[in-house]
Subunit: 364 residues, 4 copies
Amino acid sequence: MSSIFCGKTLRLSIFGESHAAAVGMTLDGLPAGLAVDMEELQAFLKRRAPGQNEWSTPRKEEDMPEFLCGLKNGYTCGTPLTAIIRNKNTRSGDYAELRTRPRPGHADYTAELRYHGFQDPAGGGHFSGRLTAAICIAGGILLQELERRNIQITARISRLAGIDDEPKAFPAEREAGGCIRLKTPGQLFPVFSAERGEAMRAAIADAKADGDSVGGVVECVAANVPGGLGDPMFDGIENRIAQLVFAVPAVKGIEFGSGFGAADMRGSENNDAFVFHNGAVCTETNNSGGILGGITSGMPVVFRAAFKPTPSIARPQRTVNMETGEEESLSIRGRHDPCIVPRAVPVIEAVTAIAIADFVLAGE
Amino acid sequence: MSSIFCGKTLRLSIFGESHAAAVGMTLDGLPAGLAVDMEELQAFLKRRAPGQNEWSTPRKEEDMPEFLCGLKNGYTCGTPLTAIIRNKNTRSGDYAELRTRPRPGHADYTAELRYHGFQDPAGGGHFSGRLTAAICIAGGILLQELERRNIQITARISRLAGIDDEPKAFPAEREAGGCIRLKTPGQLFPVFSAERGEAMRAAIADAKADGDSVGGVVECVAANVPGGLGDPMFDGIENRIAQLVFAVPAVKGIEFGSGFGAADMRGSENNDAFVFHNGAVCTETNNSGGILGGITSGMPVVFRAAFKPTPSIARPQRTVNMETGEEESLSIRGRHDPCIVPRAVPVIEAVTAIAIADFVLAGE
Amino acid sequence: MSSIFCGKTLRLSIFGESHAAAVGMTLDGLPAGLAVDMEELQAFLKRRAPGQNEWSTPRKEEDMPEFLCGLKNGYTCGTPLTAIIRNKNTRSGDYAELRTRPRPGHADYTAELRYHGFQDPAGGGHFSGRLTAAICIAGGILLQELERRNIQITARISRLAGIDDEPKAFPAEREAGGCIRLKTPGQLFPVFSAERGEAMRAAIADAKADGDSVGGVVECVAANVPGGLGDPMFDGIENRIAQLVFAVPAVKGIEFGSGFGAADMRGSENNDAFVFHNGAVCTETNNSGGILGGITSGMPVVFRAAFKPTPSIARPQRTVNMETGEEESLSIRGRHDPCIVPRAVPVIEAVTAIAIADFVLAGE
Amino acid sequence: MSSIFCGKTLRLSIFGESHAAAVGMTLDGLPAGLAVDMEELQAFLKRRAPGQNEWSTPRKEEDMPEFLCGLKNGYTCGTPLTAIIRNKNTRSGDYAELRTRPRPGHADYTAELRYHGFQDPAGGGHFSGRLTAAICIAGGILLQELERRNIQITARISRLAGIDDEPKAFPAEREAGGCIRLKTPGQLFPVFSAERGEAMRAAIADAKADGDSVGGVVECVAANVPGGLGDPMFDGIENRIAQLVFAVPAVKGIEFGSGFGAADMRGSENNDAFVFHNGAVCTETNNSGGILGGITSGMPVVFRAAFKPTPSIARPQRTVNMETGEEESLSIRGRHDPCIVPRAVPVIEAVTAIAIADFVLAGE
């Protein structure tokens, strides 16, 4: 098991290693006849692609997917849709030492425990962030379908290196029940406050200059999601989004609506009063993040995911040499993002699209 | 789908409604020959049971499970194990109005959207916290098996009504790699600092006096978990714990290790240096929460779950009347916990046991 | 895993042992609002119940299910529906010897290998035919829903003790495309030819008199099934029906349409010509059993399941004594059916209903 | 859902269409460190490949898989293993008419019902026998691992065009409990009786000369399978093998052990007496096909699958024109096997390997 997500209608298989021939995905359970706009998909994948700016690894990958099957004349066939991305720009460097001298904060050591030396350590192997390119193919296709159904999913950087974007609240929350068009789709560094964005970028540059890295929080909103989606107990919208979000490397936390903040509130503050808005049942606030009992209320689905700082840093770190039994100092060479948060934004949109489309396509 | 969790080796089916004949669970995939100590199980269930003290609903339920099958002479048969708890102390009050005047913060409204009036609204129906009694039967059995394997899972109240327990860090983190015996198992209000615990209880009493409620954070540690457990991508330990934790009513967030705090740290701070400790590979800190790449490292698994304040409060709230189309004021009568956090502690231990036992029993 | 069927929309959990407190089932994924007629369900269960006539075990069980949850005012709630049947008429006989002297043709020996002595051997435990009562609760509910959608599922005894019912072909096959009402629903010994039925019953009586048993074949037809149901590869209608039919004890083979007969035919004989019938596309013959590529064609779904003779026979048989290491003679006492085929007819209808409803309810 | 098999430890995703860029498979859940001998795998795939002799389509495909990931230095990494086979020798002929004039016995019509015209009809699309090449990659890898564990799976043609191979019984059945080496592995037309094989080939040639086709039966034996494999109810060995076997195009029936023959036997005949053989518990006969209660007994697992005659025949057939509403005559051009049974032999071995390895690798 493991790299296949089994949803209510969709099954998504992710495969590949960072330095293997390819990474890719198979999306099974798609209805026949969904249109796939290749240019739009390519534009979406480009937001995640590396090598474009100062905060991402200089490893250049075109990330142009090849569709092997399941797509004909721009429409899904209804049978499994498989697409791969060839790994071209791999370096032949010596990754064998990752097995004996695991990088702190990486999966090198745990992969060794799990796979007993047979894992592909190069570039993080199957644990590499590169695998999110495959997730984005699936998510990008589903985002197009959701958009056709007027469901819009957009994420932004809500916090980075301790700097909050402003305003804290997503505007979507205030216009609940209406047809919301978010303001940041498609940006490479999506924030509401240009000024705060500048400060964040400066913090990235500082960390990079120090041979270090920073983390942050991505906030995602799914607007115009129909109410009544989600199953109770283990398969609610929160369970599913969480299961998918933790598939994204470096995520260490998730919260919905008021989230951890709710823990400090009283019921009378946190409860969202029901009101009528243009004849529709809405809630005045959206502390629930659009989800009650695991089921969507029709209000925007809102959540935040916490990303740890990139574990690959140039600064010397302590690790163990598993051959010699000695503790050593490790300086990680290679091309790494000083902050992966900006490139993670479309990935979060992608997994959210997968979670929500899975229920929407069930047609209940 | 929905109320059946499909893990790597275990499948857990939860069924029942708050005011139906019973709630219960079927645990499938258990190996044959696991001992079940009924007294110990009963003691575990009692920690979750209502009616015992000032912070819980006065609804008294013995929560004595009846085992229907799968257990013989105190050992699991290997075939499905089913246990039910009869609902005895139900009130015949009028719950029909929950459909027309949904309670803010509850699943009344979303259940109506999802089930079109056929749901059982009484006491929250299938969305009631009462269902966690069934989860605790499964978790309690698995906790016993994990304990036999020297894996100990203990949770505490780490924050309540904005008051932090002290110390913030779980002691377990400092004694990594050793055989840790946590200090709070079995307590009804588990905190490290008696003083802080008193303050928390006072805050609950205050909220209750105000006809209001408070939320909090439960921190859970699984100690002595073998390294190498978990699958990549969608089925890592984080994905699974998160999927299960969000099955617990009122949870709105989860974070592993340094969690949301990691988002504010630099890589050099957050990365856990690998060190040798008594010949074993350990990490000096445990910001990863014992999980790297979704796979356990052998360090204690640590996470925190945020609980919103109980949505049922006596104070008047605004809601809609779906029959008249008017906005109305709602005062919730009935027996409710002013804070569900203390009773949620064993539930969090239960779902953690399910997540971890599922991998441990796979025997990899 | 094991005793939970995971379909496209439905999950069915079967639990219990022959001499445990109860057998039962949880059906998850049912839409809300399906009507359940209890009298009709009881009549259906009665067809399977033992103790009614000369070919079944004299063990009398009322098989009256108790619904624990998921049903309110005669309609499904949409949340898990659980029903149990208490085991009342169990004999306290010594079943321990089944572990040391396994009965030929039974699961006693393989259960010992699988569960290492912790299984419940009494009455076959979880492997008992009694578990099919639980399957029939689920199937009976779904048959009612299918009937409302004009889909009718009826099975008959097409062969018993080497005696064929006449005509061999199911009449349904000749009236394809129309609204077929089969002629044998609800009978306890459903055959087309009364004369052949008499011969079959005589054969059962003969076997019984000899302390022996006989087997047979059940043929099942699902009429008015919409075309286009089923998924390719592993989840086609044939795959699913087969997976479910082999859950019925004593089944050793299944064939669809012309089945094993097709192996002896030429393509020009076996291919079903497409024709128009009242404006609808039909096939002139139905050698495909209503399924092409795993997907329904709109023609009646037709299959046959082969049942081995009841393994429990009074005549002495050879077995091994696993304690002494000696080969011994075994005479099985107790109450057993000389032929389980008649009572298996409603069970086959039940599993067929589960397989087909699972796709029908997906609403594609 | 659909083209992903979810087993106990393995998940197999099959993708591709006959005339798409590629067919392929992802095998997830494989342990790390399994050796894959590429030459042996290639030899196995060659047995299924077309274009080699008089009974197969002249379409030549090298069927050389490209491994995209999950394999390093000849060993599985433990992460998803993906391999594809490019479709090179496709004809650009007009397949569009398959949608309007469906071929009898094919999935053209049902695919149209299911996918509403978006399916890829060329060469049968996702329903083509070509997809079995992908199944054989997975099966071939698992056969190697099973062989290392002394489990051997071999199939033969037991009946073709009404001609039985001799002897009917598989020799394996007589040497139960020992280490059996079957006699026909690797043959392109595996039969025991050379004479009967000649007659079968002649029957194929006759049918071909008539523009027609013939069917047959493949018998498969898995020898030295450990006892105790399989789960009760829905996930027994029979359920799983059946689910997988019906994924092979043209299969219309399956029977285990004495199968449909058991229906005509008395219990005293069909029951397999338990005996000691070299100190091990065996059965004297193997009418159960090595499976009791869905669980392996340690005796050889034996089953037979019925294949219908190839539906593609040159002889004119009747079909409907869905555009004009007229009935028409259809003559199928193109390259087709007059009998697919010989090439199906390795495919049956492959799916059997998948079913059995899935349980073996669970390590229970």
